[in-house]
């Protein structure tokens, strides 16, 4: 497990049935949890830095994503994934905190808010996956050439490349394997269509919810986000300019401002 590159980040480990799960924390203030999107957190991001200026940011890794070991290989069903995410959420001390879920992480953050409504104060979902609508399906995340992903995920492809580029201290082979494992974990959860069945449970989300989407998101269309909005009572939508699917990578200041404003 690679150490954080920023000494201000506190790293701790929680146990999930014998798997080490990394938790990164930074900042002070009311606690806010973050479930990362496609690719996870191979490194800390400017978005989380922005949040941590006013909040205690807690970012636990999800199974199979960087810092999440090979825990995904024990998860066979959507039920297994939801229970694992819930256990990680609780072990990271996020009960009662605000929760942000992006992309793949949004699929699981939405489940926690739906099934344990008292556990989330306010919910922010950034281009969440898991909701499948035949009229507005998410783009195929999996049938892609490796060289397509940067421009597919971010409005500025260089931001994705920088996010996943090996750190100076990393073993290149293992770094590559970590990245492949993150894609595998997303596949394990969402293969083949990106349909986790969360559409059935989204109406159970009773906490205030903000839905964010980059205006250049190629994965979740505005029509699909509208389906999320229709399913979650009272959900609000914010569009982030100059941003793709991973809007918090593309435009960290705008996403942080929107989330901080919503969770005041």
């Amino acid at each position: 497990m690679n150490p954080p590159q920023d000494s201000a980040i506190d790293q701790s480990i929680i146990d999930l049935d014998g798997h080490d799960i990394r938790v990164w924390r930074k900042g002070a203030g009311p606690r806010v949890g973050y479930f990362a999107g496609w690719g996870g957190l191979p490194r800390w991001t400017p978005f989380l830095d922005e949040l941590s200026k006013r909040r205690e940011v807690v970012a636990p890794s999800l199974p199979g994503f960087p810092g999440g070991g090979r825990a995904h290989l024990d998860l066979d069903t959507q039920f297994d994934w939801v229970v694992a995410a819930r256990r990680i959420f609780m072990a990271a001390g996020l009960e009662g905190a605000d929760l942000i879920g992006a992309s793949v992480g949004g699929a699981l953050a939405a489940e926690i808010a739906a099934l344990w409504p008292g556990s989330v104060r306010r919910l922010a979902l950034i281009s969440p996956l898991g909701y499948y609508d035949e009229a507005a399906p998410p783009a195929d995340m999996f049938a892609r050439r490796a060289d397509e992903y940067p421009a597919f995920l971010c409005a500025d492809p260089g931001l994705w490349r920088a996010h996943v580029a090996p750190s100076a201290s990393a073993n290149d082979v293992e770094w590559e394997i970590d990245a492949a494992r993150a894609a595998e974990a997303a596949a394990r959860l969402l293969w083949p269509l990106g349909n986790s069945g969360v559409a059935k449970r989204a109406p159970m989300i009773s906490r205030p919810t903000l839905l964010l989407r980059g205006d250049r998101d190629q994965v979740v269309s505005s029509a699909l986000l509208a389906k999320w909005q229709a399913a979650i009572p009272g959900a609000k939508v914010r569009t982030i300019s100059d941003a793709g699917h991973l809007a918090d990578l593309d435009n960290p200041a705008a996403v942080a401002a929107a989330v901080l404003d919503f969770t005041r």
Partner: protein, 407 residues
């Protein structure tokens, strides 16, 4: 040595501009290119060719499973194998194989293979491939992260279904079945020989060696590029302290035989260029889904042959006959030239189970018969004794002829 005549059953009428106008021969190939009337002719020709191979003395005839593609028209090889079991008497029936992770429940494979074994009088070789990513993960949408877990569980279930003396409950991660009770059961005991086709995964070598199964490298890249893969396999055999018996290993090799080298070029250039130009036109998007290649294989620095082919397909056209022959994709020449090249294939790779591919691409039935006859009459006799010092523990054990059902 054993010689197993292998058919891929490609669709033969892809247009000349197929490569330019279509992204892939697999997964999303245009259904409008499929003409059922032509397929009627192709299938019947292909049966004729397989039956002819059995008649002229090949040790076995081989079929395999693919989906949503023009590369091979056998979504169910068991249908073909069953017809061949009826139409042939001595040749072994090699189904190489069923992609066992795709069957729900996998008990279906135990049942169907047992049917073929019973009908054929114990002539079945049971192949269990993981399957290509195009077939398994995209055409059939099996989760790539679960594919190998499902594969191993299916293998355990099938072997138990063949060997447990009583009905049993199977409590797997992916399959739960309260009453596993395969009727019929195979003639061969404890079960038909199990052969594992692989494309170069480290785990497949271990799996074959641990279980004493035959490892078959079904390469369409020829014997030159296969050296590293087969060395890797034999290294695992050595490390396990097991006998370097060449019958542990199978290898597929494209072959074109003719009376002269020029005639061979005349006969086989078109079919070879059709195969490598059109049947191997695979979109890289379908070649490497996340999780398909295991971390151990990634660490070993190996790339599966599907990914290699797709990558090559993207980069350049490796489809001209001179290159195809130079790189050893197709062994070509007079019978004597082919004998020497096949001897080199078999000895350099140390494989006792050779699968010459004598129909490929859009080869006509007449040419296929010529190729098959020349190989049977003029190549096999000169090589049959190779590896005669070894005992083949992996060959079917059929009924004695006197026990076989009368015609």
């Amino acid at each position: 040595m054993n010689f197993l005549w292998f058919h891929l059953m490609p669709y033969m009428d892809l247009p000349a501009d197929f490569r330019a106008k279509n992204p892939s021969v697999w997964v999303d190939i245009d259904p409008a290119l499929f003409d059922p009337a032509r397929a009627h002719q192709m299938y019947n020709d292909y049966f004729d060719e397989l039956e002819y191979a059995a008649k002229v003395g090949f040790d076995a005839i081989c079929v395999n499973e693919h989906h949503s593609n023009a590369y091979g028209l056998m979504p169910s090889p068991n249908l073909v194998a069953m017809a061949l079991a009826r139409a042939t008497k001595d040749a072994k029936i090699c189904v190489l194989g069923n992609s066992i992770a795709l069957y729900n429940p996998p008990t279906r494979v135990a049942e169907e293979f047992a049917m073929i074994d019973c009908v054929s009088g114990g002539r079945l070789i049971a192949g269990f491939p993981v399957g290509t990513p195009m077939d398994t993960c995209f055409a059939y949408s099996t989760n790539p992260s679960q594919l190998r877990q499902r594969y191993h569980e299916a293998h355990d279930l099938i072997v138990r279904a063949w060997t447990e003396p009583k009905p049993f409950a199977f409590n797997g991660r992916f399959t739960q079945q309260a009453h596993v009770n395969a009727w019929p059961r195979p003639i061969q005991k404890p079960h038909p020989p199990i052969w594992i086709p692989g494309g170069g995964s480290v785990e497949t070598w271990d799996f074959c060696v641990d279980n004493d199964y035959v490892y078959c490298y079904l390469s369409y890249g020829g014997y030159k590029i296969a050296q590293d893969t087969m060395k890797g396999f034999w290294k695992v055999v050595d490390q396990a302290g097991k006998e370097r018996n060449p019958y542990r290993a199978g290898f597929l090799q494209f072959v074109g035989v003719a009376e002269s080298r020029q005639q061979a070029l005349d006969l086989y250039t078109g079919p070879a260029e059709y195969f490598y130009g059109r049947c191997q036109h695979i979109d890289p998007r379908y070649a490497g889904p996340a999780g398909y290649v295991t971390e151990e294989t990634q660490r070993a620095g190996l790339t599966g042959q599907v990914a290699r082919v797709a990558d090559r397909s993207k980069r350049r056209r490796a489809t001209e006959m001179s290159e195809i022959v130079d790189e050893g994709y197709v062994v070509l020449g007079t019978p004597d030239e082919v004998v020497e090249q096949i001897r080199e294939v078999a000895t350099s790779l140390h494989v006792g189970q050779l699968m010459p591919l004598l129909h490929f691409g859009d080869m006509s039935k007449e040419t296929t018969f010529t190729n098959t006859r020349l190989f049977a009459e003029k190549v096999i006799p000169k090589l049959k004794g190779l590896f005669g010092d070894y005992e083949d523990h992996w060959w079917p054990k059929p009924f004695a002829a006197s026990s076989v059902a009368a015609e």
